[in-house]
Amino acid sequence: MNPNYIFTLLAFITILCALYVVISKNPIHSVIALILTFFSISAHYVLLNTQFLAIVNLIVYAGAIMVLFLFVLMFLNLNKETEPVKSTSWLTAAAIASGCLLVVLVATLREGSELVMKSPNGHAGLVKTLGKLLFSKYLVPFELSGILFLAAMVGAVFLGKKKGDDDQDELIIQDNAGGNNG
């Protein structure tokens, strides 16, 4: 099968799903669309012969992160189409900005594509190769990323903790809540 067809198909799905992420009013739909996007991206990885990344992408993104998102959505009960729509001027501004960036990026990276020395190597994406690299050359960053995770975890826990101890905070929260309800 011509990889061009596969690529085109995958790209089509990817972009479609990505667009739906942005367009959909319901956050739940967005999440699902995003998961689909991630799947298609993983497929791209496979196509590129980078199996490790494909797997990790699925596990980390489609698995862990997106579940987190869903969890938060459920937790906050946000699965309604309550989001107010921004004005048309914002729509134009956003469209123009992203359009411009698109043009600029394409223009920049196209030059890069010509510089690429095409010496593809089937082993580049293998788990073995990557594992060797990670535990030799990138050992320190690898360990550091572990610390980063720890910090992120602590931070997330700290932030997410309900500050019941602090009366003042509680008061403010109640006030706000009252204001919103009223």
Binding site: P3, N4, F7, A11, I15, A18, V21, V22, P27, S30, L34, T37, F38, I41, N49, T50, L53, V56, N57, Y61, I65, L68, F69, V72, L76, L78, E83, P84, K86, L91, A94, A95, S98, G99, L102, L105, V106, S113, M117, K118, S119, P120, N121, A124, G125, L130, L133, P141, S145, L148, F149, A151, A152, L159, G160, I172, I173, N176, A177, N180
Partner: protein, 107 residues
């Protein structure tokens, strides 16, 4: 066989795809008001970058690029965790996840 993809498919295709994904993500970041969707769009942009990294890495036969993708994923995961925690905090305080309400940055 495995190499044929690199011969038949020019890398520019990936560049276009990634740029479009990135732009879509950006558009979402700018246009949407729901903070969760915002975060998701950021993930989308990160993925676009990841994909590009991976593409270049494969085309050039250099694994270093993929290591970076790995690290980006690490950072993205951490970012998503912390970001969502902040979001929950914000929701507790304002009963909303509308970023338009986050206008207290003015000095």
């Amino acid at each position: 066989m495995g190499n044929s993809i690199f011969d038949q498919l020019p890398i520019s295709q990936y560049i276009y795809l990634c740029c479009v994904l990135f732009a879509i993500g950006l558009f979402g970041v700018l246009y949407r008001r729901n903070a969760i969707v915002l975060l998701m769009c950021i993930e989308l942009m990160l993925n676009a970058v990841n994909l590009l990294f991976a593409a270049f890495s494969s085309y050039m036969g250099d694994s270093n690029g993929q290591v970076f993708v790995f690290f980006i994923m690490v950072v993205a995961a951490a970012e998503a965790a912390v970001g969502l925690a902040i979001l929950v905090m914000m929701y507790r305080n304002t009963r909303s996840t509308d970023v338009s309400l986050m206008d207290k940055l003015k000095g």
